[in-house]
Symmetry: C2
Subunit: 409 residues, 2 copies
C-alpha cells in the first residue's frame, strides 16, 4: 500500500527533529554529553512525589484518576495563580489554563493562530521545540534582529509596521539555546512596542525559576498583560515526566486554546496535576527549589571557569545567571559541525549551534553547551578536551573547510 499519498500537505513542513537524533547519539554509554537539554534526574524530588501521590489519592481518591476539566484541576490553577504572583503576575485561578507541558500550549497556539503563510516573528537562534509545534500549521518565520540584550526594540517596531505578524515568540529569560536574558530596560521597551503596535507576544518562560545569582526580572507579561500569552512549566522545578505546564492568555485567546485542547488531549493528566498542586500548596517547592539551585549553581560556575581557563582566544560565550545552557561563538569560518564530529570520536558531545537558526548557513561557528547533566569535574574535563580540539582546528586554519552534514543513525 502506498501510504505517502495519504499524507497531508503539512507533513512537508514536519521534519524529523535532527536535534533529537543528536541527543540520541549523545546518550550512548561512555559519551560525556554537553548536548542535553534536560534537567538532571538527581534534581527531582522523587521521595516527595511518592509521598504526594499517597496524599493525593487519600485526599481526592478516585477523582484524582477521573476525567477532568480541559481548563485544568481547579486547586492547581489556584496554586499556580499564587505561585506566579512572586513573578509579579497577577492572575485569578480562572485565568490559569493547565497545559500538557509548555509544548502542549505551543501546539494549541499554533493551531488557533496560524493559517498557512501567516507570519510569526522569532529570534534566530531560538527554541526548536516551538518551531516544531508551529511548523505543521505552515507559518512563515520573520527574524527579529537582536543583540546581547535581546530583540532591538526599534527593529522590532519596524518589523511590526512592515509585516502582518500573527505573533512574536520569545524566551526572554535564560533563553534556549543562548542562555541570554532580556534586560528589564529592554523588556519595558519591547512591551511599549507591542502595546503601541497592537501585537501579540508568546512569552515562553521555562527557566526563570532556575536563577543561581542576580535579581529576578519581571516577565514582559506584567508589562503588557493584554498582549501576552505567558507559558510556564513544572518541568524544571518539579519533574518533566509529569507533563504539566500552565498558560495565561487574554480571555478571547484562552477560550480558543481550551476548545483546541479538547480536541488535542481532552485534558492534562489528573494525577500529575494533583501532585503538582500539592507540591506548591504544601510548601514542598520552598524547600526543594533551593536544593535544585544549589545543585546547578556550581555546575554553571564550573562551565564558565572551564571556558575561561581552557578555550582558545577568538572564542566568546554567554554568561547566564541561570537556566541550563551556555552559548559559545567561535571565530568566523569555523564549522562546529566538523568540531562536533571530531569531539564525538573523543566521546564528547554538544549541539552545533546552526540547528537552532532558521537561516541555512547561519550560526555555523556556534555551539550550545548544557551544564545541568554532569558534575563540576566532568564538565571541566570535557571542556579541556573540547578546547584541545578547537585549538588544533584553529591553529590548522579552517577557512576553506566545507560545511559538513550530519549522518546519525
Amino acid at each position: 500500500m502506498n501510504y505517502d499519498q495519504l499524507l497531508s500537505k503539512r507533513v512537508s513542513r514536519m521534519d524529523v527533529n535532527i536535534l533529537r537524533e543528536i541527543l540520541k547519539s549523545a546518550s550512548r554509554p561512555g559519551i560525556i554529553s554537553l548536548a542535553g537539554g534536560i534537567p538532571a534526574p538527581e534534581s527531582f524530588p522523587t521521595d516527595i512525589i511518592a509521598a504526594l501521590t499517597t496524599t493525593v489519592l487519600k485526599t481526592y481518591g478516585a477523582s484524582a484518576l477521573q476525567y477532568g476539566p480541559t481548563e485544568g484541576f481547579y486547586p492547581l490553577r489556584e496554586a499556580v495563580s499564587h505561585f506566579i504572583r512572586k513573578k509579579g503576575i497577577m492572575a485569578r485561578p480562572d485565568d490559569v489554563q493547565i497545559t500538557s507541558g509548555s509544548q502542549g500550549a505551543l501546539d494549541a497556539i499554533g493551531k488557533i493562530l496560524i493559517s498557512k503563510g501567516d507570519k510569526v516573528a522569532i529570534e534566530s537562534p531560538t527554541y526548536l521545540g516551538a518551531l516544531h509545534a508551529f511548523n505543521p500549521y505552515e507559518p512563515e518565520y520573520v527574524r527579529i534582529e537582536a543583540d546581547e540584550d535581546g530583540p532591538i526594540p526599534e527593529k522590532l517596531e519596524r518589523l511590526l509596521e512592515s509585516h502582518k505578524i500573527k505573533f512574536i515568540y520569545l524566551v526572554p529569560t535564560f533563553q534556549n539555546p543562548t542562555g541570554n536574558t532580556i534586560s528589564l530596560k529592554r523588556r519595558k521597551e519591547i512591551a511599549d512596542v507591542i502595546c503601541r503596535q497592537n501585537a501579540l507576544l508568546v512569552e515562553d518562560d521555562p527557566y526563570s525559576d532556575l536563577r543561581y545569582q542576580g535579581e529576578d526580572i519581571i516577565p514582559i507579561q506584567t508589562l503588557a498583560t493584554d498582549h501576552v500569552i505567558y507559558l510556564g512549566t513544572f518541568s524544571k522545578i518539579l519533574a518533566p515526566g509529569l507533563r504539566v505546564g500552565y498558560c495565561l492568555a487574554p480571555k478571547a485567546i484562552k477560550k480558543w486554546m481550551i476548545i483546541a485542547k479538547q480536541g488535542i488531549d481532552l485534558h492534562t493528566g489528573s494525577l500529575s496535576q494533583a501532585i503538582a498542586s500539592f507540591y506548591l500548596t504544601e510548601g514542598y517547592i520552598d524547600d526543594h527549589l533551593p536544593l535544585i539551585l544549589n545543585f546547578y549553581k556550581p555546575r554553571l560556575a564550573a562551565m564558565l571557569e572551564g571556558l575561561e581557563a581552557y578555550f582558545p582566544s577568538g572564542f566568546s560565550w554567554s554568561r547566564p545567571e541561570g537556566g541550563m545552557f551556555v552559548w559559545v561563538k567561535g571565530p568566523e569560518g569555523l564549522d562546529m559541525g566538523r568540531i562536533h564530529d571530531e569531539a564525538f570520536k573523543e566521546n564528547i558531545a554538544f549541539v552545533p549551534g546552526r540547528y537552532f537558526h532558521i537561516g541555512h548557513r547561519e550560526g555555523l561557528e556556534t555551539m550550545r553547551l548544557n551544564f545541568t547533566m554532569h558534575d563540576e569535574k566532568t564538565i571541566r574535563n570535557a571542556l579541556h578536551l573540547l578546547a584541545d580540539i578547537l585549538e588544533r582546528n584553529v591553529s590548522a586554519g579552517f577557512h576553506d573547510q566545507r560545511v559538513t552534514s550530519f549522518s546519525y543513525a
Copy 2:
C-alpha cells in the same frame, strides 16, 4: 485589542463542544444523569494505583519522572504488545506507540493525514471526540451507510470507488453513542473491501475490554493489518485521568505520528506510563478487570430491563453486550431535545442523539443513555420517570413541534 483578527482560519471549524456543555449541566447536584460518557470512579483501582506508584518510583526512581521517548516507555510498549495478543493482534513492542489517551492519537492522525477538503468517511451517529480532533484540519465528512450490523460493505465499497477517501473512521465494538457492535461476518467483509480498495481504516477500540456477555470479536486490524490504524486506551480498564492510550499503525504512518507527537506534547506522562505498565505486567489487570465487568454488568441489565418495562410502544433500543451506552430511538417526529428539557426539569439528564450526527436535523428522535454511573435502582427509577415524560409527549402528539435549540450556561 482585537483578538479575532489573529485567529487562524481553522477555528471556524472548531465549535464549542455542545456535548460538553450538556454534561456540565448534567453534573449539577441533584441531577440523575444518564448523559455521562465516563467510567464510574468506583471502578478505578485506586489502592492498586497507590501501590503501583510506590513500586514504580522504587524500581525506576527519578527516571520515571524524566523526559521520555516520544514513542513511549519501552516496558509499557512491551506490556501492551502482550496484552493485545489476547485480542488476536500480533505486534512487537516496537510497533506499539503510546499516546496521550486515544484523543492524542486522533489529533495526530488528523494532523498527518488531513489536508483541507480531504474526505474522511464516518458513520453517523459517531463519536464526537473524533470529529473534534479532526475538524481543525478541515476535512469533509462522507457518510457510510450502515444498518444494525454496522457499515454495509457494498455501500462502503461504492463510496471508496466514487470518492477519494483519506481514511475511514469506525468504532466497531460497543460504539459510542449506539452501543452497536459490527458482527464478525461484517468485519471480514469490511476488511476485504478495505484491502481491495487500498483504503485506510482508523479502528477506535476503547470499549472492547468492557464485554459483560457474549464472545469477543477480533478487531478488523487482525483482518487487514496493513490497512488499519488501531487505537486502544487505558481509560476504561485502569483510569482515564492517567491519559494513557496506545496506537498501532503501519510503519510509514507511525513514523509521521511520532514526528507529529514531538510537536504536540513531546511524550505521554512518564509516571502514568510506568503505572500502566506495572498494572499489566504484574497481573493486577487480571484481578481488577473482572471486578469492573461485574460492577457494570448488572447496570446494563437494569437499563435493558427498565427500557423493556417502562418505555412506551414505538420506541426501540440497542442491546449491547458491553461498553457504556444504550441507544434509544423514538417514533419519527419526536424531538428528544424537547424531551431533554422537560426531563431536566425533573432532574433527569441524557444526551439527545442529534448531537452525534453530522446532518443538521438527523437523529432528532434518538437519545444516548449511559449506564455506568448509577446503580441499578437509580437507573430503573430514572427510566421510569423518563418513560412517563415520553408517554405524555407521545400521547399528546408531537408532530408539529419545532426543533428546540439548547442554551446552556
